[in-house]
Symmetry: C2
Subunit: 299 residues, 2 copies
C-alpha cells in the first residue's frame, strides 16, 4: 500500500500539469501570421495569466475517483479552462459587465482592444473543442466530452445564466431565479468538469450520476460563496473589483439574504455535495477535500 | 438509370432541408427561462432570417459526391451554418465592422442589443459543436467534423482572417496578405464544409484530398467575388451596405487590382477548383455546378 500524497501536493501537481498542457495547446505568437500575433498574445494572456485552475482540478479529481488515467484527462482539463477563460473575456466586455480588472491585471479589452477581446474569446471557445476532438484514442469519449462542455456553455448553460444575470441588473431577482442563475452561470461548467472526469474512467451509470449530483451542488455552493466574497474580500485579494455586484445593482445571495445567511447557504450545498460522494467511500476523499477548499476559500 | 434532377430542384431541396434541421436544433423561445427568451430569439433571428445556405449546400453536394447518406449530412450542414451565423453577428459588432444591415434587416446588435449579440454569437458557436457531437451513430466521424470546423473557426481559420482584416483597415495590404486573409476569413469555413461532406462518405484519402483542394480554391474564388460585389452590386441586392469595404479603407481585390482584374482572378480560381473535381468525373458534376453558381452569383 502506497501512502496518499498530501492534498496540497496533488493540487500543485494538477495546476502545474494543466498549465503545461495549456501552454502547449495555445497558439504561440511565433506560429501565426504577423497580423494575428496580437490575437495569439491575447489568448495566452487570458489563459496563462493566473487563475486557480479549480475546474481542471475538478476534472483530474473526478477522473481519479473514476479510475481514469491522468493522461486521458489532460484534454478535458485544458478544454474546461479554455472555456472558462473565454467566458471571462466576454463577460468583462464593456457591453456586458464592463470590468477593467481580472486576476489582478487589466482585462483583455483594456490590455488589447475590444475587437481583439471579442475574437480572442471566440478563438478560445473554438480551440476548446478542437482540443477535445483531437483525442482520437477514444472517439466515443471525445464526443461525450464535446456534448457535455458545449451544453454547459450554451443557451441552457453558462450563456443562459449570463442572460439572467444581465436581466438581474434592471430588477430584483427572486431567490429561486437567483438559484437558477447560479446553477447555469457557474454551476453548469463545474458540473461538466466533474462529468468529464467521471466519464473518463470505469464507473457504472449510477456512480456517474452520483458524481453528477455532486457536481451540481458544488457548483451552486461555489457561486454562492463567490457572492459572499464579492461583498467581503478586498479587491487586492480578489484580483477583481470588490463590491462590483452591488455597484451594478445585481441581485446576489448577499443582497437577498445578507452575508451570514448566504454563507450558511453555501455551507448547506457543500454538505449536500459531500453526501453524494459517500457511496464512493475512499475514492471520493480527494474530491471532497477539493470541494471543501472551493467553498471555504477566502478569494 | 434514373434521371438527374435539375440543379435548381436540388438547391431548393437542400435549402429547405437544412432550414428544417436548423429550426429544430435552435432553442425555441418557449423552451428557455423567461430571461433567456431574447437570447433564443436573437439566435433564431440571426440563423433563420434568410441567407443563401451556400455552406450547407456544399456539405450536401460534397457528401453526395462522396456517396454519403443525406441523413448523415444534416448535422454538419446545420453546424457549418450555425458557425457562419455566429461569425456574422460578431463581425457586425460596433467594435469590429460596425454594420447595421445584414440580409436586408437590422443586424443583431441593432435589433436586440450589444450584450445579446455577443452572447447569441457565443451560444451559436457552442451549439454547432453540440450538434456535431450529438451524432452518436459514428463517433469517429463526429470527432473528425468537430476538428475540421473548430480548426476552420479559430486562430488558424476564420478568426485569424478577421484579425488580418482589421489590420487591413489601418494599412494597405499586399496582394499576398490579402490572399492569405481571404483563404482564412472565408476560405477556411468553405473548405471545412466541403471536407465535412467528403469524410462522411466512402472516399479514399486521395479523393478526399482532391475535394479538399477543390474546397480551398472555391473558398478563395468566392471571397474575391465578394469583393467585386461589395464594390458593384446595389445595397438592396446585397442585403448589406454596398461599398462598406471601401468606406472602411479596407484593402480588397478591387482596391488593389480594379473590378475587372479582380473578376478575372475569381474566374481563375474557379477554374482551378473545377480542375480538382475532374478525377471524380460524373460524381463531381453537381458540386461543379454549385461552385460556378457561387462565383458567378450577382449577390
Amino acid at each position: 500500500m502506497t501512502a496518499t500524497p498530501p492534498q496540497d501536493d496533488v493540487a500543485a501537481h494538477d495546476v502545474l500539469r494543466v498549465n503545461t498542457v495549456l501552454d502547449r495547446l495555445l497558439p504561440s505568437v511565433a506560429d501565426v501570421d504577423n497580423d494575428v500575433a496580437s490575437l495569439a498574445s491575447a489568448m495566452r494572456y487570458a489563459v496563462l495569466g493566473g487563475g486557480k485552475r479549480l475546474r481542471p482540478r475538478l476534472v483530474y479529481a473526478a477522473g481519479r475517483a473514476a479510475g481514469a488515467d491522468l493522461d486521458v484527462l489532460d484534454r478535458p482539463a485544458a478544454a474546461v479552462e479554455l472555456i472558462h477563460a473565454f467566458s471571462l473575456i466576454h463577460d468583462d466586455l464593456p457591453a456586458l459587465d464592463d470590468d477593467c480588472l481580472r486576476r489582478g491585471r487589466p482585462t483583455v479589452h483594456v490590455r488589447y482592444d475590444e475587437a481583439t477581446a471579442v475574437l480572442a474569446g471566440d478563438a478560445l471557445l473554438a480551440l476548446a473543442f478542437e482540443v477535445l476532438a483531437g483525442s482520437f484514442a477514444d472517439a466515443a469519449r471525445a464526443t461525450r466530452w464535446v456534448c457535455l462542455l458545449a451544453r454547459a456553455t450554451g443557451a441552457f448553460g453558462m450563456i443562459g445564466g449570463q442572460m439572467i444575470d444581465l436581466a438581474g441588473e434592471s430588477r430584483r431577482l427572486e431567490l429561486s431565479a437567483l438559484e437558477r442563475l447560479h446553477r447555469l452561470k457557474a454551476g453548469a461548467l463545474i458540473y461538466a468538469a466533474v462529468m468529464c472526469g467521471a466519464v473518463a474512467g470505469r464507473l457504472g451509470e449510477a456512480e456517474q450520476r452520483t458524481l453528477g449530483n455532486f457536481g451540481e451542488e458544488i457548483g451552486l455552493a461555489f457561486q454562492i460563496q463567490d457572492d459572499v466574497l464579492d461583498a467581503t474580500a478586498p479587491t487586492r485579494t480578489l484580483g477583481k473589483r470588490q463590491g462590483a455586484d452591488e455597484r451594478r445593482g445585481k441581485s446576489t445571495y448577499v443582497t437577498l439574504l445578507g452575508v451570514q445567511a448566504a454563507a450558511t447557504e453555501a455551507a448547506k450545498h457543500l454538505q449536500l455535495a459531500l453526501r453524494h460522494l459517500a457511496p464512493l467511500e475512499e475514492r471520493g476523499k480527494a474530491l471532497a477535500a477539493l470541494a471543501e477548499q472551493m467553498v471555504e476559500r477566502t478569494f
